[in-house]
Amino acid sequence: MKKSVILGAMTFAGLAAGAASAGTLDDVKARGKLNCGVTTGLVGFAAPNANGEWEGFDVAVCRAVAAAVLGDSNAVEFVPTTGKTRFTALASGEIDMLARNTTWTFSRDVDLKFEFVGVNYYDGQGFMVPKELGVSSAKELDGATVCIQTGTTTELNLADFFRSNNISYEPVPIETNAEAQQQYLAGACDVYTTDASGLAATRATFDDPAGHVILPEIISKEPLGPLVRHGDHEWGDVVRWSLMALIAAEELGITSANLGEMAAGTENPEINRLLGTEGTLGEMLGLSADWAKNAIASQGNYGEIFAKNIGEDTPVGLARGLNAQWTEGGLLYAPPFR
């Protein structure tokens, strides 16, 4: 009897210890690798190159977090997920964070028990139609067939938009962006709708990009951002502030070129705090003092990452638009590092 009580107590203590050490940050450090969920492939946002290395705008967030936590931007295990498997992969613990052009919505944040740590791209849903259709506004699309990716917020937005404008449409459900492209070009649907960034990327690959127009209506807000599991706030903070460090770095003028110089100490106390020469921000997060420096060193600041992967000089060719710094009329606004 006594023995079983002791055994029971030990089991309980073991369980408690297990629960206490189950922080994702500790897990990642112990593993030496960050498991980051990405898309199976989206032009400019995430795709492996000819050498099999992942590249893209979402991939850069994963790499920045890995650099901040582990000091090595290559210590990432990229776990490709589809629109249907992404949330279960995160909820089951198969991945530590998801950076997969996922829209921040109320129900995903609250009901599915995830925590969106910020926004790395402000997108919105748009429409693309062939120019010869002669359509100049989405409100003229009564009775159109629309290619739409299933299992996404775009599907719901589309239904809302057509219902509120009292016009009808016929959906053509498709699985991937590649399929959509082919269906649209083959004339299976009159309209292709998805996030405006996706439309621009898709149009850039057409034989005749000028033959297609993106309609002016943006029918939804699609703040895309990385997310983590609900309840592990230490880990959520790490991912949030790694992203904010990239955004703040652009605002403060820290680039991959002048990073070394800046990290030696500057007149600006905020830069010093960010790069770890002053204050103990890294320690508060449970990271080393140069965490933000490593994150920025991996790919450059937010602006550099944008320009390299999806900016105007790339085939995707997106303008900064809403994704400019708040000082330049955009929505990017990193809270102070203090």
Partner: protein, 432 residues
């Protein structure tokens, strides 16, 4: 009278006239054409229509094929080279062939390993497929799965050796005790195999995989056509014995076994493969703690094997049902017990009848392996749909990539079907 006659004939031929060639319309190509293609008005019309269709097809595809560009670095460059002419952009194949065949993460300096495994596979399955070959070659077939595992996944050689020793111990126990009692031999063999595996698991030092002779490659890094072939070969070879067991179980007199088999077969056959794959990739992750999940490849193999085993079981049940009852009674009258009767009399005949059905399931299964792309495994189709079409260079190349995939699958499936036709001729299963 005869005189006049003799005078009226100036010349009498005393040699045979050499046969003259048949008229132009009754010989060679013309005759063949007339008899086969233009024998009547309807046939002529059909012939002309078919020729027109072939001409249209070729006139569209040949310029596309022959103008193909093989050397550029992106689709945009392809279009520049073509200057608006029709032409394929095969450069995607020359640049990404390795990703299509091996997936994008298999280390490129290790490609010889799956290649060698494939070549050895041919040697390993030869004695199984062509039973005229010497039976001793089967020894290599028995070793092959472990060798292939070691070649493809790398890591410590101890793991496959322990697995092999476990099977060998099981076989030994079965040989020794199976003769007197099948059940003792069977369960003893399973116990012996597990004893060896558990003991061997203890003996393999931790971290043995890190400094192994062959670099360890995790399952997640496998991909491309290699993954399709691996899934196809593994699942077919595993589901065949499982299917036989299920078919026999379904005919068993023991109610518990019978109903277990019936429920399993009917359940699996009543569920689409894709739902089973989603269960494998998504649901099972909830049941295991995050650190100790079963390897995704293994999960998928288990699901596909279950699926095809249920189908093969039904095919074999058909074969069993086709045997005359006299065969069972003959076995009984010889005093054979159940395992002997099955092994020596019933199954050889039943399997022979089932060959076309089994091959049909195997071909279908091999093509079904492309479904794993929906659970974000990068098999051949997954590579095309995901990474390659999402790269900025190749976004928009469809026909070339999917045509290549179709070609690879056609070669393999046509091979399987030719083999099954040869096998049917060789065994003459129709008793004509």
């Amino acid at each position: 009278m005869s005189d006049t006659h003799a005078h009226s004939i100036a010349f009498v031929r005393d040699t045979e006239i050499p046969p003259s060639p048949p008229p132009a319309g009754e010989t060679g190509v013309v005759k063949w054409l007339r008899e086969n293609l233009f024998s009547n008005a309807v046939n002529s019309a059909l012939t002309i229509a078919s020729l027109l269709v072939i001409y249209i097809l070729l006139s569209k595809t040949l310029p596309w094929l022959l103008n193909g560009v093989w050397t550029t670095n992106s689709l945009a460059e392809c279009r520049e080279v073509l200057q608006g002419k029709t032409g394929a952009c095969f450069s995607v194949l020359t640049e990404r062939w390795n990703q299509l065949l091996y997936g994008f993460k298999y280390p490129s300096d290790q490609y010889w390993r799956p290649n060698l495994a494939l070549v050895l596979l041919l040697f390993a399955i030869a004695p199984v497929l062509f039973f005229d070959l010497p039976r001793k070659l089967l020894a290599f077939t028995a070793v092959y799965p472990f060798l292939a595992f070691w070649l493809i996944w790398g890591g410590t050689i101890l793991a496959p050796i322990v697995a092999l020793v476990g099977f060998a111990a099981g076989a030994f126990v079965f040989q020794t005790y199976g003769k007197s009692s099948f059940a003792v031999g069977f369960f003893g063999a399973i116990a012996a195999a597990f004893a060896v595996w558990i003991l061997g698991g203890w003996l393999i030092p931790e971290g043995a995989s890190e400094n192994a002779m062959l670099k360890a490659v995790p399952s997640r890094d496998l991909g491309g056509f290699m993954l399709n072939l691996m899934l196809g070969v593994t699942c077919v070879s595993l589901s065949l014995p499982l299917g036989i067991a299920l078919a026999l179980g379904r005919q068993s007199d023991m109610p518990l076994i019978k109903w277990m088999c019936v429920v399993f077969i009917e359940f699996v056959r009543g569920v689409p493969l894709i739902t089973l794959l989603f269960v494998a990739s998504v649901m099972l992750a909830y049941f295991f703690p995050p650190e100790s999940t079963v390897d995704l490849f293994l999960r998928v193999v288990i699901m596909i094997t279950m699926f095809s085993a249920a189908y093969i079981a039904e095919v074999i049940r058909g074969g069993l049902a086709a045997l005359p009852k006299g065969q069972y009674e003959a076995a009984d009258s010889l005093g054979l017990d159940y395992p002997q009767a099955m092994r020596l009399i019933i199954l050889p005949q039943a399997l022979k009848i089932s060959i076309p059905g089994i091959v049909n399931v195997a071909v279908g299964l091999f093509k079904d392996t492309t479904l794993v792309s929906v659970i974000s495994m990068f098999d051949l189709v997954g590579m095309i749909r995901g990474p390659i079409l999402a790269s900025t260079e190749w976004n928009g190349v469809y026909w070339e990539l999917l045509g290549f995939a179709a070609l690879l699958f056609f070669v393999v499936c046509y091979g399987i079907s030719q083999y099954s036709q040869w096998l049917e001729r060789r065994l003459a299963t129709d008793h004509r």
